[in-house]
Symmetry: C2
Amino acid sequence: MITSKQHSEVIERASVMLREAGIAITPEEGSHFEVADFGLGDLEQTGLEIIVYINTTRCCAKELVMFPGQTCPEHYHPTIDGVPGKEETFRCRWGTVYVYLQGDPTPFPACRPPKGSESYYKVWHEVCLKPGDQFTVHPDTVHWFQAGPEGAIVSEFSTQSRDELDRFTDPRIQRETLITA
Amino acid sequence: MITSKQHSEVIERASVMLREAGIAITPEEGSHFEVADFGLGDLEQTGLEIIVYINTTRCCAKELVMFPGQTCPEHYHPTIDGVPGKEETFRCRWGTVYVYLQGDPTPFPACRPPKGSESYYKVWHEVCLKPGDQFTVHPDTVHWFQAGPEGAIVSEFSTQSRDELDRFTDPRIQRETLITA
């Protein structure tokens, strides 16, 4: 839950980051920014600022803006009734983003989970993405990601996005962000 | 057909445009640039410089670099045996790109077809894309596009890319570019 004042401030801050990175958006896109707090009400730690460029039944592209140290919490995109889950490629455009996945844990990972949520972060195979680097996350693969100290801007290229199907490790998470007066 | 010397020069020129637009690519991506002359051997007029970020059976993303006035020739992505043709969204990142489609012809279009190929350009409904603007081309829709006088950089978000299925209006076109010594 965030207030509409916070919502506006967050959008302004994300817009400035895009502008400084030289990524153009239309005024309409700027006003439709999605602010996701994942229901935890602690956006600085756990959150994402998202512009959905296109999302059809066949494919999807987004720009993700992440504030310094901000985390998209651990989840996966399930295959359901034989329909493969979302396949997504994260391409770092600006800053640094660390993606964590199932697999051999990285001995000295660069990131720490958001404070108070440590027990909901279980996968620790680290991939570091700098501008121009990308990584594809296949369906049913548990993952989370966190921006480096300067923040990050990440293009996401994927199959259809159906956020309501995502399965999060943290049972407290709600994918819809409530905005209050 | 282009020579390997021309090929290197074109890649260098496209890389400079990306750098000046602030779009990061890896050295490996820079060395795998696809230069498409569509078999016409007249790259300044008819051609595309392409970095394929990802292309799976499910989705695809590319960065298209277009030199000033360069044209991607008229074609469509056919539905075959009930499998829908490619759906693609062009998002202008830098410069200007004019997309032409089936539909009401625009009275005073900004572009002219490549010289000597005029008869192979039949659709004239114009959409002008500046940085931040985008347009989705649906399967089976005849279209072509041309960069403005400063060139263009365009992100393409799509379903799987299978260039060999594209149907071009100009029967002389071959999608594969031959590179000679």
